[in-house]
């Protein structure tokens, strides 16, 4: 364990301006219902789900509309009461056409979610628990959207000793996890207790960066006496929310490269996912809405919103007063998020934020030659040599790249952020990793 209990962190990393002041004090509010919802079938990592409804069918809020297409896949539910109008291709954020279910909301419906009686997760077997979570359509809400039940169903011979809950929210601008911790601490803590119990963990640690003191306090105030849960305050640093960096920060242990946290007996989950776990077991509400932050100078009324999954991004941005200066809309955080090609795309389960950026923020400085200043090495939490990776990637020297551990890169972008010469390091690395994977696939 770290010898400095109050300044825990991983080594290296960067300190971008936080830009959280704008939204961190704004309570979560509900996004009003809109006319039409779009639910892509592949909004999680893994196999897409299979639609079980057809155009014309009536659906109610919370009703299953698509079932898992495999083990690494999850369920999908209607976010509104209304009518299915289309099951077919729809444009998603990156501009690609993907299969999606479109639902028209019933304008006369109260859109009240009909709760069911609580079920007791503690009475379930482990497999039953995982299956139940899959039925809830739960995924990691941090942004990666990895189906949660996959993490909860431990493979043979593996045990989860320690559960780590990610409350870092290390991306600038985003404050929705922060708000969940402040406003829904009881649900978060209950979710953590359930999960720790079901996984058989000897303890749970909620890592929260110290720029959220009210989040830390409210979680602590809801810990029952003698609880196995610890709230671990962490120094503020990017990318602390990356699983392996978080584990390093909390336990000062390194997950071996090429391995999963579970290989050292750790499971990591996002803090907002915990509140949804509680909603599922206590009220029967599947993942049909999520908290997200809308911010950036391109919107006049930044907000933390609870948005039904499937709401078109255009509607969310209009609700927040998108203005004419907007030049770029990013889904997720500004360090690892995705630029949107179209505002027709919907909010999906992994959407943690919508950021509207204006002119002065999208014009990055011109690129200069790498002056070998070493900043990128000191930014890289993975202790790679990003300047060398960028050079090799430009030259297309893939064997050497692999020897330089390019595949260890978590694509956090800290190197590009810090580079004084504006070398698009992580961009080059991403492209090189893709090529290497494709080559492997071809050979294999």
């Amino acid at each position: 364990m770290s010898s400095l209990p109050n300044r825990k962190s991983f080594r290296h990393g960067v300190h971008p301006l936080e830009h959280k002041e704008e939204t961190e004090h704004l309570p979560l509010e509900r996004m009003p219902f809109v006319g039409r919802y779009v639910l892509p079938l592949g909004q999680h990592i893994g196999a897409p789900c299979r639609a079980v409804v057809r155009a014309g069918e009536k659906v109610t809020r919370g009703q299953l509309i698509a079932e898992p297409g495999g083990f690494v896949s999850t369920s999908l539910h209607s976010p509104v009461t209304g009518r299915v109008v289309d099951v077919g291709p729809h444009r998603q954020g990156n501009g690609q056409l993907v299969p999606a279910i479109q639902i028209e909301a019933d304008p006369y419906s109260s859109q009240q979610f009909r709760e069911r009686d609580p079920v007791d997760p503690f009475a379930m077997g482990v497999d039953e628990f995982a299956a139940s979570v899959q039925r809830a359509g739960l995924v990691g809400l941090g942004g990666a959207a990895f189906p949660s039940h996959v993490k909860y169903k431990l493979p043979e011979g593996k045990a989860c000793e320690r559960l780590v809950i990610n409350g870092c929210e290390c991306e600038p601008y985003l404050t929705c996890d922060h708000r969940v911790m402040v406003e829904r601490p009881a649900e978060v803590v209950r979710g953590v207790s359930i999960l720790a119990e079901k996984l058989g963990a000897r303890g749970a640690w909620i890592g929260v960066e110290m720029n959220k003191p009210d989040g830390i306090d409210s979680l602590r105030a809801h810990l029952p006496a003698g609880s196995k849960i610890t709230v671990a305050p962490l120094a503020v640093k990017y990318p602390q929310g990356a699983e392996k960096m978080l584990i390093k920060a909390v336990f000062n242990e390194e997950v071996p490269a090429g391995h999963l946290p579970l290989d050292i007996g750790v499971v990591v989950n996002n803090v907002a996912t915990m509140a949804c776990l509680t909603d599922w077991f206590d009220r029967g509400q599947p993942l049909i809405e999520r908290a997200l932050t809308v911010a950036g100078p391109g919107v006049d009324r930044p907000a933390n919103l609870i948005v039904p999954i499937g709401t078109p991004i255009r509607d969310v941005l209009r609700h927040c007063g998108i203005n004419r200066d907007t030049r770029q809309v990013v889904m997720g955080g500004p360090m690892m998020g995705m630029p949107l090609a179209t505002l027709d795309a919907p909010v999906v389960k992994g959407t943690s934020g919508l950021l509207a950026f204006t002119d002065n923020m999208v014009n990055h400085p011109t690129e200069y030659a790498c002056v070998r200043c070493g900043s990128c090495l000191e930014a890289c939490g993975n202790f790679l040599n990003p300047s060398r990776l960028a050079r090799l990637a430009r030259a297309g020297r893939y064997e050497e790249l692999e020897g330089a551990f390019v595949m260890d890169c978590m694509e956090c972008g800290a190197c590009t952020y810090t580079c004084p010469s504006s070398v698009p390091i992580v961009h080059l690395i991403r492209a090189a990793k893709l090529t290497i994977r494709q080559r492997k696939a071809k050979q294999g």
Binding site: R314, N323, Q328, P339, A341, H364, F383
Partner: protein, 340 residues
Amino acid sequence: MMAGDPRLLLQSAPFLRRGITTPRLMTEVIIGMGPVILAAVYFFGISAIFVMLATTAGAAGAEWLLGPARPRGRTLKDGSAILTGIVLALCLPPGFPLWMAFLGGAAGICLGKLAFGGLGQNMFNPALVGRAFLQAAFPGAITTWSAQGDIGGFFTVRASNFAAPFMQATPDAVATATPLGLMKFEHQTTPLTDLLLGNTAGSLGETCAIVILLCGVVMAVRRAFDWRIPAAILLSVTVFSTVVWAFNTEKFPAPWAMLTSGGLLFGAVYMATDPVTSPVTPRGAWAFGAGIGVIVVLIRLWGGLPEGVMYAILLMNAATPLIERVTQPRPFGRGAIEHE
């Protein structure tokens, strides 16, 4: 409310930048050199300004004329050629003929940088290449040190500054030996206070130890360069020269004299820290600095020259790729054994 959607720009993450650019880093170093430049002007009068202008013109001119980029002169904007010019001037003697200074600046950029493919590709510090070129071409002029203020007032220009090209430069009437020269060839020591305050003969920028040291500390705190390099150099010179001195305090100079005389401080703070020609790896920076320190002491005590900073840095520049290869960081989650 807007009519349509904005025309969305697609770039890839990250969307934020630290906001510190390479030209800004170069400017920071030039500003960080300001007090040293002022000290040079204070001690050596207007000649110092002339020499600096001549080298900078040579360096910038070469970059503009022969730089790789189109439109012409784009690479001037990164500021590195100007930095090279100023650094070169600061390691020349004040009475140095201006035409030679100009040539030195141009040679540094051409041979030291452009020949390798421009900024970031060069192996040797361009300013030092310029200096080495001058040393080889004009060995007489470059070792003619005049004492400060010895020729009247501030505005008095040293006659040798305006020696005509390719004529024999006539050394100033009052050529003076530098502290290191005195130390080496005449076994004479210069008082420490003189060394610290710059009350000695020497190159433009290398005489006033205190100013250089303070600037170095400020720049290190501001992260304008890798603080490990000067730290390693000073540490290794201190350790090595103390050991030698302890053997024979009569014969060998004291460590403090070693640290404060000649171009050591200037070289450690402004030349060895050139990021392009020093290792990027943190452990490599330590090795690089330590190597320079050892070579400086070796040359000064046992070599044929009174001063070895230039050769020490150039030698370690050459060793940089090798140092880097063996000091790559240990990737997160990988044991030392797995690392080829």
